[in-house]
């Protein structure tokens, strides 16, 4: 009976919503486009296939169907080219590709326009990258991106609101360099946008120590997270994200508590803690790397570079925080103790907040 009543209520709500905000189903509710790139001897050739409704939106046309007529499309073609030159964020070794439009055709039954282009290059490309999707005004838009070389499809990807870049590396030396540079940047970026990783490392350093000890902590963390990052990125082991993120929060609480409870002259187990929890942080890094997307042709290089980036990010934090903490501990031991107590309390509070958010509220 209750189920029936709820069902009635739901139907009534749907009706009320329709009255309040009538929704007209669009003819193009599944917006997508296609970008194909063919790598030839001295030229890139390609196609952009776009829906007339998306093109009409960018051109400011009120009647998208007009583009389905050859004469109207012909008239609008220069503006269509302009729009696509602005939206097609395709690069060859970091240099934007300037398409020279060669021909076009209508695919009326699917309301699509296919535009062919070519672009000459001085030297063979190492990395071809597309940023997208092609039409960003619609958050549901997806762009199918294919790269063809030597008669075969060598790269297939889909760009959408959650994946905004896709690159294909030819596997040559310069492409590897490009991959390495990009993934070092991604690693550094991730450390600086992830306050939990920062807090974990800073928490471990609060009690100070000699340079050798700090190096052991950082190295323990690095070795451990490199192992699990590789396992997850290669698809060998992928624990649930909720478990990973919650345990990362717990690791932060543990570090804070350890600082408060540790004996002054007891055994320093921080390197061990860093390594132990580093395994879990590695899975967290892998979640991010999954979003970025690893180039299959240079998987090992990308993974290694991402790790290097993470290390560089960590090193920056250590180099900024360690001398300051060392100075406080050396000059004003009482103030040093206060920093440890207050800092650890802050670390515990932040960890507890994240744990509740990730494990209990999710």
């Amino acid at each position: 009976m209750h189920a029936r009543r709820r069902s009635m209520v739901r139907l009534a709500v749907v009706i009320a919503m329709n009255f309040a905000a009538p929704h007209v189903a669009r003819a193009h509710d599944e917006p997508y486009s296609f970008v194909d790139v063919h790598l030839e001897t001295q030229v890139l050739r390609g196609q952009v296939v776009a829906h007339v409704e998306d093109l009409a939106h960018e051109l400011g046309l009120a009647a998208p169907d007009s583009l389905r007529q050859a004469a109207s499309l012909e008239r609008a073609l220069p503006r269509v080219h302009e729009v696509l030159e602005r939206l097609l964020r395709l690069s060859n070794d970091g240099t934007p590709v300037q398409p020279r439009w060669t021909s076009y055709e209508l695919v009326p039954e699917r309301q699509l326009v296919r535009l062919n282009w070519e672009s000459a290059f001085a030297r063979p490309p190492a990395v071809i990258e597309l940023r997208g999707p092609l039409f960003t005004y619609d958050k549901a838009h997806e762009t199918y991106f294919n790269v063809h070389a030597e008669g075969a499809v060598v790269h297939q990807d889909l760009l959408d609101v959650g994946r905004t870049s896709s690159s294909w590396a030819t596997g040559k030396v310069q492409s590897r360099i490009a991959v390495v540079v990009r993934f070092i940047r991604e690693g550094i970026h991730h450390i600086f946008i992830g306050p939990d990783h920062i807090l974990f490392i800073v928490g471990l350093m609060l009690c100070g120590g000699r340079v050798r000890r700090l190096l052991q902590i950082v190295t323990g963390f690095t070795v451990a997270h490199s192992v699990t990052l590789a396992l997850a990125a290669l698809g060998i082991l992928r624990p649930p994200a909720r478990w990973v993120e919650s345990t990362i929060a717990l690791s932060i609480i543990y570090v804070g508590a350890h600082n408060l409870l540790r004996r002054q002259h007891g055994t320093d187990r921080r390197a061990l803690i860093a390594a132990g929890f580093g395994f879990v942080h590695g899975f967290g890094f892998a979640n991010v790397l999954g979003d970025v997307g690893l180039p299959r042709q240079a998987l090992a290089w990308a993974l290694g570079a991402f790790n290097v980036g993470v290390e560089v990010g960590q090193a920056c934090i250590v180099l900024a925080a360690a001398p300051l903490l060392a100075l406080v501990h050396a000059r004003k031991p009482l103030a040093g103790k206060a920093v440890v107590t207050a800092g650890s309390a802050l670390v515990i509070a932040a960890g507890a907040y994240w744990f509740v958010q990730r494990a209990l509220l999710s």
Binding site: I15, H28, G162, P240, R358
Partner: protein, 278 residues
């Protein structure tokens, strides 16, 4: 009495406000002889009317044929192809094509997201949002878990549990039972309280405007995850259900899993409507 009137209002006079889209597989034929080549395409839409969805290998977690044996169909199509798979049917005893995608992301403004939760019967998620006092945009990750049945006389093949993350498992014969029992599984466990809908497509339906046709039946699963749906009429059928959970990922608030099952009852399979249960 009031319910059909309300549905008729929703279905014919007013287009639905629900922004959510079903996703289903459609074989080139729902019955075929051994050795026939079949093509499977995917559609996304509402009211069992939709647009073709191109194939994207990066979205595929599983794309398999389950019949006489199990065959991996992933990789038989190229990125952007309108056909998800082409395969030769090994025998006439029936086969299920199953597809599971990974997550795609979408972001919706708060009011629209709440509308969608209500329209899809996602009461638990809606209550949770209300409890949290959520007012900002909702970031959702959604995954598709679809099956389609190329009919045959070995019914046990359609009843197999395939282990999709979210799965509609048939407990009866989709071509013979007027009231079809199904079990909804999530992570392999029965899912209670899931709203299962049955949509039917006929020639007239295909000509109807998108969003103008309501489901033929909708029912919540019981504590054991089972539900019975009236499917006595002939035509192409889509069973669908969606399950939503709060996300523990940093870049998402919610994760939804869309399960669907398609089959076709030929004209000869039309039965009298099942007796209404007390």
């Amino acid at each position: 009495m009031l319910r059909p009137i309300l549905r008729a209002l929703v279905s014919t006079v007013l287009p639905t406000a629900a922004p959510a889209h079903e996703y289903w597989l459609e074989p080139s034929s729902y019955s075929a002889a051994a050795g026939d080549t079949l093509v499977v395409r995917a559609f996304v839409g509402t009211g069992f009317r939709g647009e073709l969805k191109p194939y994207a290998p990066t979205r595929v977690v599983r794309l398999e044929l389950h019949g006489r044996d199990e065959r991996d169909l992933a990789g038989s199509a190229l990125n952007g192809d309108l056909a998800f798979a082409r395969f030769v049917l090994p025998d006439e005893r029936g086969a299920v094509v199953a597809y599971q995608s990974n997550f795609a992301a979408i972001e919706m403004e708060s009011a629209k997201f709440d509308e969608y939760l209500v329209a899809e019967g996602l009461d638990a998620a809606h209550a949770e949002r209300t409890r949290r006092g959520a007012t900002g945009p909702a970031r959702e990750l959604y995954a598709r878990c679809c099956k389609t049945w190329v009919a045959g006389n070995e019914v046990s093949r359609v009843q197999r549990v395939l282990g999709l993350r979210h799965e509609i498992v048939l407990l009866g014969d989709p071509l013979r039972d007027a009231r079809l029992r199904v079990r909804v599984l999530f992570d392999g466990k029965p899912l209670a309280g899931a709203l299962v809908r049955a949509w039917r497509a006929t020639g007239a339906h295909r000509a109807a405007a998108r969003d103008s046709v309501g489901p033929e039946a909708e029912v919540r699963t019981g504590p054991d995850g089972t539900a019975s749906l009236d499917v006595h009429l002939s035509g192409e059928w889509l069973l669908s259900t969606v399950h939503m959970l709060p996300s523990s990922l940093r870049h998402a608030d919610w994760e939804s899993f869309w399960a669907s099952f398609t089959f076709e009852r030929p004209a000869a399979a039309t039965l009298p409507p099942p007796k209404r249960r007390p």
